[in-house]
Protein backbone atom coordinates (compact mmCIF):
# COMPACT_ATOMS: atom_id res chain seq x y z
CA UNK A 1 0.00 0.00 0.00
CA UNK A 2 2.28 2.66 -1.16
CA UNK A 3 0.10 5.72 -0.78
CA UNK A 4 0.48 5.54 2.98
CA UNK A 5 4.16 6.18 2.46
CA UNK A 6 5.07 9.84 2.01
CA UNK A 7 7.31 10.42 -0.98
CA UNK A 8 7.77 14.08 -0.17
CA UNK A 9 8.57 15.31 3.31
CA UNK A 10 8.69 19.01 4.02
CA UNK A 11 10.40 20.52 7.02
CA UNK A 12 10.53 24.11 8.08
CA UNK A 13 13.87 25.46 9.25
CA UNK A 14 15.19 28.85 10.19
CA UNK A 15 16.55 29.31 6.67
CA UNK A 16 13.36 28.31 4.86
CA UNK A 17 12.02 24.94 3.84
CA UNK A 18 13.83 21.67 3.34
CA UNK A 19 12.20 19.29 0.96
CA UNK A 20 13.16 15.62 1.23
CA UNK A 21 12.33 13.51 -1.79
CA UNK A 22 12.23 9.78 -1.23
CA UNK A 23 14.97 8.14 -3.26
CA UNK A 24 13.36 4.73 -3.84
CA UNK A 25 10.38 5.72 -5.97
CA UNK A 26 10.50 6.79 -9.61
CA UNK A 27 11.07 10.42 -10.48
CA UNK A 28 7.64 10.68 -12.11
CA UNK A 29 5.90 9.48 -8.97
CA UNK A 30 7.76 11.97 -6.80
CA UNK A 31 7.13 14.74 -9.29
CA UNK A 32 3.40 14.00 -9.33
CA UNK A 33 3.12 13.96 -5.58
CA UNK A 34 5.05 17.19 -5.26
CA UNK A 35 2.74 18.91 -7.72
CA UNK A 36 -0.33 17.76 -5.81
CA UNK A 37 1.16 18.94 -2.54
CA UNK A 38 1.90 22.35 -3.96
CA UNK A 39 -1.59 22.70 -5.45
CA UNK A 40 -3.29 21.65 -2.22
CA UNK A 41 -1.33 24.21 -0.37
CA UNK A 42 -2.25 27.46 -2.11
CA UNK A 43 -1.46 30.48 0.03
CA UNK A 44 -4.31 32.74 1.15
CA UNK A 45 -2.61 36.04 0.61
CA UNK A 46 0.63 37.22 -0.90
CA UNK A 47 3.41 35.78 1.16
CA UNK A 48 7.11 36.53 0.78
CA UNK A 49 9.24 34.13 -1.28
CA UNK A 50 10.49 31.21 0.76
CA UNK A 51 13.91 29.67 0.05
CA UNK A 52 13.87 25.93 -0.47
CA UNK A 53 16.60 23.34 -0.13
CA UNK A 54 15.94 20.08 -1.92
CA UNK A 55 17.52 16.90 -0.60
CA UNK A 56 17.52 14.04 -3.04
CA UNK A 57 19.21 11.37 -0.94
CA UNK A 58 20.77 8.74 -3.15
CA UNK A 59 18.92 9.86 -6.22
CA UNK A 60 20.75 11.09 -9.30
CA UNK A 61 18.93 13.68 -11.42
CA UNK A 62 19.68 14.43 -15.04
CA UNK A 63 19.81 18.10 -16.02
CA UNK A 64 16.32 18.01 -17.63
CA UNK A 65 14.88 16.48 -14.47
CA UNK A 66 16.55 19.12 -12.35
CA UNK A 67 15.12 21.79 -14.60
CA UNK A 68 11.54 20.52 -14.49
CA UNK A 69 11.79 20.10 -10.72
CA UNK A 70 12.97 23.66 -10.19
CA UNK A 71 10.42 25.03 -12.67
CA UNK A 72 7.65 23.32 -10.76
CA UNK A 73 8.80 24.72 -7.45
CA UNK A 74 9.48 28.20 -8.71
CA UNK A 75 6.09 28.40 -10.40
CA UNK A 76 3.93 31.24 -9.11
CA UNK A 77 6.96 32.78 -7.39
CA UNK A 78 6.21 31.34 -3.99
CA UNK A 79 9.60 29.69 -3.57
CA UNK A 80 13.20 30.20 -4.55
CA UNK A 81 15.60 27.30 -4.89
CA UNK A 82 18.57 27.54 -2.59
CA UNK A 83 20.20 24.28 -3.59
CA UNK A 84 19.51 20.83 -4.90
CA UNK A 85 21.62 18.37 -2.97
CA UNK A 86 22.30 14.78 -3.79
CA UNK A 87 24.53 12.20 -2.18
CA UNK A 88 25.58 10.92 -5.59
CA UNK A 89 27.29 12.59 -8.53
CA UNK A 90 28.11 11.47 -12.05
CA UNK A 91 31.49 9.94 -12.77
CA UNK A 92 32.34 12.70 -15.24
CA UNK A 93 31.55 15.32 -12.64
CA UNK A 94 33.71 13.53 -10.10
CA UNK A 95 36.60 13.48 -12.52
CA UNK A 96 36.30 17.13 -13.34
CA UNK A 97 36.01 17.91 -9.63
CA UNK A 98 39.22 16.06 -9.07
CA UNK A 99 40.96 17.82 -11.94
CA UNK A 100 39.64 21.05 -10.55
CA UNK A 101 41.04 20.46 -7.10
CA UNK A 102 44.37 18.92 -7.94
CA UNK A 103 47.48 20.88 -7.08
CA UNK A 104 49.58 21.42 -10.18
CA UNK A 105 53.20 21.85 -9.18
CA UNK A 106 55.29 23.84 -11.60
CA UNK A 107 58.90 24.77 -11.29
CA UNK A 108 59.96 27.73 -13.42
CA UNK A 109 60.13 31.50 -13.68
CA UNK A 110 57.12 33.14 -15.28
CA UNK A 111 58.77 35.96 -17.16
CA UNK A 112 57.47 39.19 -18.66
CA UNK A 113 54.88 38.48 -21.35
CA UNK A 114 54.38 34.87 -20.28
CA UNK A 115 51.09 33.47 -18.99
CA UNK A 116 50.92 30.29 -16.93
CA UNK A 117 47.39 28.91 -16.72
CA UNK A 118 46.23 25.79 -14.85
CA UNK A 119 43.03 24.04 -13.86
CA UNK A 120 42.94 23.39 -10.12
CA UNK A 121 45.35 24.82 -7.59
CA UNK A 122 48.74 26.12 -8.71
CA UNK A 123 51.88 25.56 -6.71
CA UNK A 124 54.58 27.58 -8.43
CA UNK A 125 58.14 27.08 -7.29
CA UNK A 126 59.74 30.16 -8.79
CA UNK A 127 59.01 33.81 -9.35
CA UNK A 128 56.35 35.64 -11.31
CA UNK A 129 58.28 38.55 -12.80
CA UNK A 130 56.81 41.97 -13.58
CA UNK A 131 54.67 41.61 -16.70
CA UNK A 132 54.15 37.88 -16.20
CA UNK A 133 50.85 36.31 -15.09
CA UNK A 134 49.61 33.15 -13.42
CA UNK A 135 46.01 32.02 -13.63
CA UNK A 136 44.18 29.13 -11.94
CA UNK A 137 40.64 27.98 -11.31
CA UNK A 138 41.59 27.35 -7.68
CA UNK A 139 44.13 28.67 -5.22
CA UNK A 140 47.58 29.97 -6.14
CA UNK A 141 50.58 29.27 -3.95
CA UNK A 142 53.87 30.83 -4.96
CA UNK A 143 57.13 29.74 -3.38
CA UNK A 144 58.97 32.73 -4.74
CA UNK A 145 58.30 36.36 -5.49
CA UNK A 146 55.06 37.54 -7.03
CA UNK A 147 55.75 40.71 -9.01
CA UNK A 148 53.29 40.29 -11.85
CA UNK A 149 49.59 39.42 -11.98
CA UNK A 150 47.95 36.47 -10.21
CA UNK A 151 44.34 35.47 -10.90
CA UNK A 152 42.88 32.77 -8.64
CA UNK A 153 39.40 31.28 -8.93
CA UNK A 154 39.24 32.38 -12.53
CA UNK A 155 35.96 30.52 -13.08
CA UNK A 156 34.30 32.38 -10.25
CA UNK A 157 35.43 30.72 -7.02
CA UNK A 158 35.45 33.61 -4.57
CA UNK A 159 36.89 31.54 -1.76
CA UNK A 160 40.13 31.04 -3.71
CA UNK A 161 43.27 32.54 -2.21
CA UNK A 162 46.67 33.68 -3.44
CA UNK A 163 49.67 33.09 -1.20
CA UNK A 164 53.30 34.01 -1.88
CA UNK A 165 56.64 33.94 -0.09
CA UNK A 166 57.12 37.49 -1.29
CA UNK A 167 54.10 39.44 -2.34
CA UNK A 168 54.63 42.54 -4.49
CA UNK A 169 52.07 42.05 -7.26
CA UNK A 170 51.02 44.56 -9.86
CA UNK A 171 47.52 43.06 -9.62
CA UNK A 172 45.70 40.42 -7.63
CA UNK A 173 42.52 39.00 -9.07
CA UNK A 174 40.17 36.57 -7.40
CA UNK A 175 37.02 35.49 -9.27
CA UNK A 176 35.69 38.80 -10.66
CA UNK A 177 37.47 40.99 -8.08
CA UNK A 178 40.54 43.00 -8.98
CA UNK A 179 42.93 44.92 -6.80
CA UNK A 180 46.00 46.69 -8.01
CA UNK A 181 49.19 47.96 -6.48
CA UNK A 182 49.20 51.58 -5.36
CA UNK A 183 50.63 54.16 -7.75
CA UNK A 184 53.48 55.00 -5.43
CA UNK A 185 56.50 52.72 -5.17
CA UNK A 186 55.98 50.26 -2.38
CA UNK A 187 57.92 47.39 -0.96
CA UNK A 188 56.37 43.98 -0.95
CA UNK A 189 55.51 41.85 2.04
CA UNK A 190 56.75 38.42 3.03
CA UNK A 191 54.60 35.36 3.60
CA UNK A 192 51.23 36.93 2.98
CA UNK A 193 48.09 36.02 1.13
CA UNK A 194 45.32 37.74 -0.76
CA UNK A 195 41.69 36.76 -0.31
CA UNK A 196 38.23 38.22 -0.70
CA UNK A 197 36.81 39.78 2.43
CA UNK A 198 33.05 39.43 2.09
CA UNK A 199 32.28 42.25 4.52
CA UNK A 200 34.48 44.82 2.84
CA UNK A 201 33.55 43.33 -0.52
CA UNK A 202 37.12 43.51 -1.79
CA UNK A 203 40.42 41.69 -1.92
CA UNK A 204 42.53 42.13 1.20
CA UNK A 205 46.11 41.13 1.88
CA UNK A 206 46.89 39.59 5.22
CA UNK A 207 49.36 37.34 6.99
CA UNK A 208 49.29 33.68 6.03
CA UNK A 209 48.25 32.82 9.59
CA UNK A 210 44.77 34.27 9.09
CA UNK A 211 43.96 31.53 6.61
CA UNK A 212 43.62 29.04 9.43
CA UNK A 213 40.39 30.64 10.53
CA UNK A 214 39.27 32.53 7.43
CA UNK A 215 39.46 29.56 5.10
CA UNK A 216 38.89 26.54 7.29
CA UNK A 217 39.17 24.05 4.51
CA UNK A 218 41.67 25.10 1.93
CA UNK A 219 41.26 21.72 0.33
CA UNK A 220 39.03 22.53 -2.58
CA UNK A 221 37.91 18.96 -3.13
CA UNK A 222 36.32 18.63 0.29
CA UNK A 223 34.83 22.07 -0.02
CA UNK A 224 33.30 21.34 -3.37
CA UNK A 225 31.93 17.96 -2.33
CA UNK A 226 30.39 19.40 0.81
CA UNK A 227 29.00 22.57 -0.67
CA UNK A 228 27.96 21.20 -4.03
Amino acid sequence: MHDTKQLITIKGTRDGLTLFIDDTCSFDEAFKELREKLLANQPQKKEPCVPVTIKLGNRFLREEEKDSLSNLIKEENRFTIQSIESEVIAKSEALSLMEDSEVKTINRIVRSGQVLEVTGDLLLIGDVNPGGSVISTGNIYIMGSLHGVAHAGVKGDRSAIIAASYMNPSQLRIAEYISRAPDYESDGVYMECGLIDEEQDKIIIDRLQVLAHRRKSINRFERRINNG
Partner: protein, 266 residues
Protein backbone atom coordinates in the same frame (compact mmCIF):
# COMPACT_ATOMS: atom_id res chain seq x y z
CA UNK B 1 84.71 24.68 -34.64
CA UNK B 2 83.79 28.17 -33.51
CA UNK B 3 81.05 29.38 -31.22
CA UNK B 4 78.25 31.75 -32.23
CA UNK B 5 77.07 34.30 -29.66
CA UNK B 6 74.08 36.56 -30.25
CA UNK B 7 73.91 39.95 -28.51
CA UNK B 8 70.26 40.84 -27.91
CA UNK B 9 68.06 42.98 -25.67
CA UNK B 10 64.46 43.41 -26.74
CA UNK B 11 64.49 47.13 -26.12
CA UNK B 12 66.24 49.35 -28.63
CA UNK B 13 69.19 51.60 -27.97
CA UNK B 14 70.51 49.86 -24.86
CA UNK B 15 73.90 49.08 -26.37
CA UNK B 16 73.72 45.87 -28.43
CA UNK B 17 75.80 47.24 -31.27
CA UNK B 18 78.30 48.85 -28.92
CA UNK B 19 78.61 45.60 -26.98
CA UNK B 20 79.03 43.56 -30.16
CA UNK B 21 81.78 45.84 -31.46
CA UNK B 22 83.64 45.91 -28.18
CA UNK B 23 83.41 42.24 -27.29
CA UNK B 24 84.54 41.43 -30.83
CA UNK B 25 87.44 43.86 -30.58
CA UNK B 26 88.43 42.59 -27.14
CA UNK B 27 88.40 38.97 -28.34
CA UNK B 28 90.52 39.98 -31.34
CA UNK B 29 92.97 41.68 -28.97
CA UNK B 30 93.30 38.31 -27.29
CA UNK B 31 94.22 36.84 -30.65
CA UNK B 32 90.97 35.06 -31.31
CA UNK B 33 89.58 34.80 -34.80
CA UNK B 34 86.37 36.77 -34.73
CA UNK B 35 83.61 37.49 -37.23
CA UNK B 36 80.92 40.06 -36.44
CA UNK B 37 77.51 39.84 -38.14
CA UNK B 38 75.12 42.76 -38.31
CA UNK B 39 71.54 41.43 -38.62
CA UNK B 40 69.82 44.79 -38.21
CA UNK B 41 68.64 44.97 -41.83
CA UNK B 42 67.76 48.51 -42.89
CA UNK B 43 69.36 50.11 -39.84
CA UNK B 44 72.91 48.95 -40.09
CA UNK B 45 75.25 50.47 -37.53
CA UNK B 46 77.94 48.01 -36.66
CA UNK B 47 80.07 48.98 -39.67
CA UNK B 48 80.00 52.61 -38.55
CA UNK B 49 80.95 51.83 -34.98
CA UNK B 50 83.80 49.63 -36.27
CA UNK B 51 84.87 52.36 -38.69
CA UNK B 52 84.47 50.08 -41.71
CA UNK B 53 81.54 51.71 -43.42
CA UNK B 54 83.30 52.82 -46.60
CA UNK B 55 84.71 49.38 -47.33
CA UNK B 56 81.34 47.72 -47.82
CA UNK B 57 80.75 46.19 -51.23
CA UNK B 58 78.43 43.29 -50.58
CA UNK B 59 76.16 42.60 -47.62
CA UNK B 60 74.38 39.71 -45.90
CA UNK B 61 71.39 39.80 -48.25
CA UNK B 62 73.75 39.53 -51.25
CA UNK B 63 75.17 36.40 -49.64
CA UNK B 64 71.77 34.87 -48.94
CA UNK B 65 70.52 35.65 -52.43
CA UNK B 66 73.75 34.29 -53.85
CA UNK B 67 74.85 37.45 -55.58
CA UNK B 68 78.27 36.84 -54.04
CA UNK B 69 80.27 34.31 -52.03
CA UNK B 70 80.32 34.65 -48.25
CA UNK B 71 84.08 35.34 -48.36
CA UNK B 72 83.56 38.23 -50.76
CA UNK B 73 81.12 39.95 -48.45
CA UNK B 74 83.32 39.74 -45.35
CA UNK B 75 85.14 43.00 -44.58
CA UNK B 76 88.53 42.67 -42.99
CA UNK B 77 89.12 44.94 -40.01
CA UNK B 78 91.74 47.64 -40.44
CA UNK B 79 93.44 46.82 -37.14
CA UNK B 80 93.30 43.04 -36.80
CA UNK B 81 93.98 40.35 -39.37
CA UNK B 82 91.46 37.97 -37.90
CA UNK B 83 88.56 40.28 -37.25
CA UNK B 84 85.89 40.47 -39.96
CA UNK B 85 82.48 41.98 -40.39
CA UNK B 86 79.52 40.74 -42.37
CA UNK B 87 77.46 43.92 -42.80
CA UNK B 88 73.68 44.20 -42.84
CA UNK B 89 71.89 45.29 -45.98
CA UNK B 90 70.70 48.85 -45.98
CA UNK B 91 68.14 48.89 -48.73
CA UNK B 92 67.10 45.38 -49.67
CA UNK B 93 63.96 43.60 -48.68
CA UNK B 94 64.01 42.57 -45.02
CA UNK B 95 62.26 39.29 -45.69
CA UNK B 96 65.24 38.07 -47.69
CA UNK B 97 66.93 36.89 -44.49
CA UNK B 98 65.57 33.69 -42.94
CA UNK B 99 66.57 31.55 -39.97
CA UNK B 100 67.78 28.86 -42.37
CA UNK B 101 69.84 31.35 -44.34
CA UNK B 102 71.47 32.52 -41.10
CA UNK B 103 72.19 28.98 -39.95
CA UNK B 104 73.92 28.24 -43.21
CA UNK B 105 76.13 31.33 -43.02
CA UNK B 106 77.06 30.71 -39.40
CA UNK B 107 77.87 27.09 -40.05
CA UNK B 108 80.27 28.13 -42.76
CA UNK B 109 81.88 30.86 -40.62
CA UNK B 110 82.40 28.46 -37.74
CA UNK B 111 84.86 26.50 -39.88
CA UNK B 112 87.25 29.40 -39.87
CA UNK B 113 86.48 31.62 -36.88
CA UNK B 114 86.67 31.00 -33.13
CA UNK B 115 83.83 33.38 -32.34
CA UNK B 116 80.94 34.67 -34.39
CA UNK B 117 79.29 37.62 -32.63
CA UNK B 118 75.80 38.45 -33.92
CA UNK B 119 74.34 41.93 -33.43
CA UNK B 120 70.58 41.52 -33.07
CA UNK B 121 68.01 44.18 -34.00
CA UNK B 122 65.62 45.49 -31.35
CA UNK B 123 62.23 43.84 -31.01
CA UNK B 124 60.98 40.27 -30.97
CA UNK B 125 59.93 39.87 -34.59
CA UNK B 126 61.50 38.23 -37.61
CA UNK B 127 64.81 40.05 -37.17
CA UNK B 128 65.17 38.63 -33.69
CA UNK B 129 64.27 35.13 -34.86
CA UNK B 130 66.89 35.39 -37.60
CA UNK B 131 69.57 36.67 -35.27
CA UNK B 132 69.18 33.86 -32.74
CA UNK B 133 68.70 31.08 -35.31
CA UNK B 134 72.30 29.99 -35.59
CA UNK B 135 73.49 31.04 -32.13
CA UNK B 136 74.93 28.63 -29.57
CA UNK B 137 74.56 31.08 -26.72
CA UNK B 138 73.16 34.52 -26.05
CA UNK B 139 74.18 37.62 -24.17
CA UNK B 140 71.30 39.83 -23.10
CA UNK B 141 72.06 43.53 -22.69
CA UNK B 142 70.01 45.73 -20.39
CA UNK B 143 70.34 49.15 -18.84
CA UNK B 144 69.38 49.74 -15.20
CA UNK B 145 65.90 50.94 -16.14
CA UNK B 146 62.64 49.19 -15.46
CA UNK B 147 61.46 49.13 -19.06
CA UNK B 148 64.74 47.76 -20.30
CA UNK B 149 64.81 45.04 -17.64
CA UNK B 150 61.22 44.16 -18.49
CA UNK B 151 62.12 43.67 -22.15
CA UNK B 152 65.23 41.71 -21.23
CA UNK B 153 63.01 39.41 -19.18
CA UNK B 154 60.71 38.93 -22.15
CA UNK B 155 63.67 38.09 -24.38
CA UNK B 156 65.06 35.62 -21.84
CA UNK B 157 61.66 33.92 -21.78
CA UNK B 158 61.77 33.59 -25.56
CA UNK B 159 65.37 32.37 -25.53
CA UNK B 160 64.47 29.68 -23.00
CA UNK B 161 62.21 28.14 -25.62
CA UNK B 162 65.11 27.81 -28.05
CA UNK B 163 67.71 25.12 -28.24
CA UNK B 164 70.41 27.40 -26.88
CA UNK B 165 72.44 27.67 -23.68
CA UNK B 166 71.00 29.76 -20.82
CA UNK B 167 71.81 33.40 -21.63
CA UNK B 168 74.22 35.67 -19.74
CA UNK B 169 73.58 39.25 -18.76
CA UNK B 170 75.40 42.53 -19.41
CA UNK B 171 74.18 45.56 -17.50
CA UNK B 172 75.20 48.59 -19.56
CA UNK B 173 75.24 52.33 -18.95
CA UNK B 174 75.44 52.25 -15.20
CA UNK B 175 75.52 55.64 -13.55
CA UNK B 176 76.91 55.39 -10.08
CA UNK B 177 75.34 58.52 -8.67
CA UNK B 178 71.86 57.46 -9.77
CA UNK B 179 72.25 53.97 -8.49
CA UNK B 180 73.44 55.27 -5.15
CA UNK B 181 70.52 57.64 -4.86
CA UNK B 182 68.11 54.82 -5.70
CA UNK B 183 66.94 56.45 -8.91
CA UNK B 184 68.13 53.48 -10.94
CA UNK B 185 67.62 49.81 -10.30
CA UNK B 186 70.70 48.37 -8.65
CA UNK B 187 72.49 45.39 -10.08
CA UNK B 188 71.38 43.24 -7.21
CA UNK B 189 67.73 43.80 -8.07
CA UNK B 190 68.24 43.28 -11.78
CA UNK B 191 70.04 39.98 -11.35
CA UNK B 192 67.45 38.83 -8.85
CA UNK B 193 64.58 39.46 -11.24
CA UNK B 194 66.22 38.10 -14.37
CA UNK B 195 67.93 35.29 -12.51
CA UNK B 196 70.56 34.59 -15.12
CA UNK B 197 74.32 34.66 -14.96
CA UNK B 198 75.83 38.16 -14.86
CA UNK B 199 78.75 38.33 -17.25
CA UNK B 200 79.59 42.02 -17.07
CA UNK B 201 78.68 45.53 -15.99
CA UNK B 202 79.66 48.59 -18.03
CA UNK B 203 79.63 52.18 -16.83
CA UNK B 204 77.94 54.93 -18.73
CA UNK B 205 80.84 56.85 -20.16
CA UNK B 206 80.99 59.65 -22.74
CA UNK B 207 84.21 58.10 -24.02
CA UNK B 208 82.18 55.15 -25.32
CA UNK B 209 80.16 57.46 -27.53
CA UNK B 210 83.24 59.38 -28.65
CA UNK B 211 85.07 56.20 -29.54
CA UNK B 212 82.09 54.87 -31.49
CA UNK B 213 81.87 58.13 -33.40
CA UNK B 214 85.48 57.76 -34.48
CA UNK B 215 84.93 54.18 -35.57
CA UNK B 216 87.42 53.01 -32.97
CA UNK B 217 85.65 50.89 -30.34
CA UNK B 218 86.62 51.86 -26.82
CA UNK B 219 87.99 48.39 -26.12
CA UNK B 220 91.04 49.43 -28.20
CA UNK B 221 92.05 51.85 -25.44
CA UNK B 222 93.61 50.42 -22.32
CA UNK B 223 92.68 52.96 -19.65
CA UNK B 224 88.91 53.69 -19.55
CA UNK B 225 86.84 51.62 -17.16
CA UNK B 226 84.30 50.85 -19.87
CA UNK B 227 87.09 49.37 -21.96
CA UNK B 228 88.28 47.19 -19.11
CA UNK B 229 84.70 46.10 -18.57
CA UNK B 230 84.39 44.93 -22.19
CA UNK B 231 87.75 43.21 -22.08
CA UNK B 232 86.70 41.42 -18.92
CA UNK B 233 83.50 40.23 -20.58
CA UNK B 234 85.65 38.81 -23.37
CA UNK B 235 87.85 37.01 -20.84
CA UNK B 236 84.78 35.56 -19.14
CA UNK B 237 83.53 34.35 -22.51
CA UNK B 238 86.83 32.51 -22.82
CA UNK B 239 86.10 30.86 -19.48
CA UNK B 240 88.39 32.87 -17.23
CA UNK B 241 87.20 33.79 -13.77
CA UNK B 242 87.52 37.55 -13.54
CA UNK B 243 86.10 39.43 -10.58
CA UNK B 244 83.97 42.44 -11.42
CA UNK B 245 86.03 45.60 -11.39
CA UNK B 246 85.23 48.10 -8.75
CA UNK B 247 82.81 50.57 -10.26
CA UNK B 248 83.20 53.06 -7.50
CA UNK B 249 85.94 53.97 -5.13
CA UNK B 250 84.24 52.58 -2.10
CA UNK B 251 83.62 48.89 -2.06
CA UNK B 252 79.80 49.01 -1.84
CA UNK B 253 78.68 47.86 -5.23
CA UNK B 254 81.69 45.71 -5.84
CA UNK B 255 80.84 43.63 -2.80
CA UNK B 256 77.25 43.28 -3.82
CA UNK B 257 78.01 42.23 -7.33
CA UNK B 258 80.78 39.88 -6.44
CA UNK B 259 78.31 37.80 -4.52
CA UNK B 260 76.53 36.83 -7.70
CA UNK B 261 79.68 35.62 -9.32
CA UNK B 262 80.50 33.58 -6.27
CA UNK B 263 77.03 32.17 -6.04
CA UNK B 264 76.79 30.96 -9.56
CA UNK B 265 80.34 29.68 -9.64
CA UNK B 266 80.96 31.44 -12.94
Amino acid sequence: MGEAIVITSGKGGVGKTTTTANIGTALALMEKKVCLIDTDIGLRNLDVVMGLENRIIYDIVDVIQERCKLKQALIKDKRFDYLSLLPAAQTSDKTAVTPDGMKKIIKELKQEYDYIIIDCPAGIEQGFQNAIAGADRAIVVTTPEKSSVRDADRIIGLLEKEDIEPPSLVVNRIRNHMMKSGDMLDIDEIVQILSINLIGVVLDDDEVIKASNHGEPIALQSKPKASIAYRNIARRILGETVPLQSLEDESGMFQKVKRFFGMRGN
